[in-house]
């Protein structure tokens, strides 16, 4: 017996007019394609069922509120709705990867803290203090230039102006300050490392 194929556009029109049976025909006609499409992207029966259901809830709401205007393109329209719902599902479930600590894998091998630890801070403080003591041993003119340059971050031009000497003299004093610092460090066997 030949079955009469009613066009989708007519079924949609009848459904909007209040014929609930038209929706049943539309679902029966297209459920395999729509569900197959969803399942191809979401190989989980329960999730695929949920998305299929949500797709048709959207379809029903759109048709009943007379917002549908794609006559004759019912199936591609429904497919688009389900595609959007699949994308939404993936977005919602985008979770941080979960890692468990095992004998072979330590979480600390991928977690790092760039801030210095307590030991590092103590060593840095000790070096700073030692360096300040050594700087106090420098002649006053060299000490002045070094402090201005390193601690106050002034340019040699500014240092020259403030100390009333030429820029070359300021540069020379800085050079001698560094040479003398090295000499004091070597002479006293001071180790300045972090």
């Amino acid at each position: 017996m030949a079955t009469i194929q009613i066009p989708d556009a007519l079924l949609v029109k009848n459904y909007i007019a209040g014929d609930e049976n038209s929706l049943s025909i539309l679902i029966n006609k297209h459920q395999s394609k729509i569900y197959g499409f969803i399942y191809s992207k979401m190989p989980d029966r329960d999730v695929a069922d949920d998305i299929f259901q949500d797709t048709f809830i959207k379809v029903i709401k759109t048709l009943k509120s007379n917002s549908y205007n794609e006559e004759g393109k019912f199936l591609p329209w429904v497919m688009r709705i389900s595609h959007n719902l699949i994308v939404d599902h993936f977005r919602k479930n985008k979770k941080m990867p979960m890692l468990r600590e095992t004998e072979d894998f330590s979480i600390f091998s991928i977690l790092s803290d760039s801030s210095p630890n307590a030991e590092c801070r103590i060593i840095t403080d000790a070096i700073e203090k030692d360096l300040q003591k050594i700087i106090q041993e420098l002649p006053d003119d060299q000490k002045e230039v070094l402090l201005m340059r390193i601690y106050q971050e002034l340019s040699f031009n500014e240092i020259a102006e403030l100390t009333g000497v030429s820029i070359n003299t300021a540069l020379g004093r800085m050079r001698y300050a560094l040479i003398n610092l090295r000499k004091i460090i070597e002479k006293n066997n001071i180790v300045l490392t972090n």
Binding site: L23, Y35, Q53, F56, K61, K64
Partner: protein, 47 residues
């Protein structure tokens, strides 16, 4: 010849949603009424 114990899972020819899902959709459709007032759509679900 080595025996192959694994069985390749063939996709079922017809992928269909559960019958309960279809039934829910059809019942939901029957129960839903949308009334448009001005710019707003009001959804009414009858029991």
């Amino acid at each position: 010849m080595a025996k192959i114990y694994s069985k390749k899972e063939l996709p079922s020819s017809k992928m269909l949603p559960k019958k309960e899902i279809i039934s829910f959709i059809l019942n939901y459709s029957k129960a839903l009424n949308i009334i448009k007032i001005g710019k707003h759509n009001f959804e009414i679900i009858s029991n």
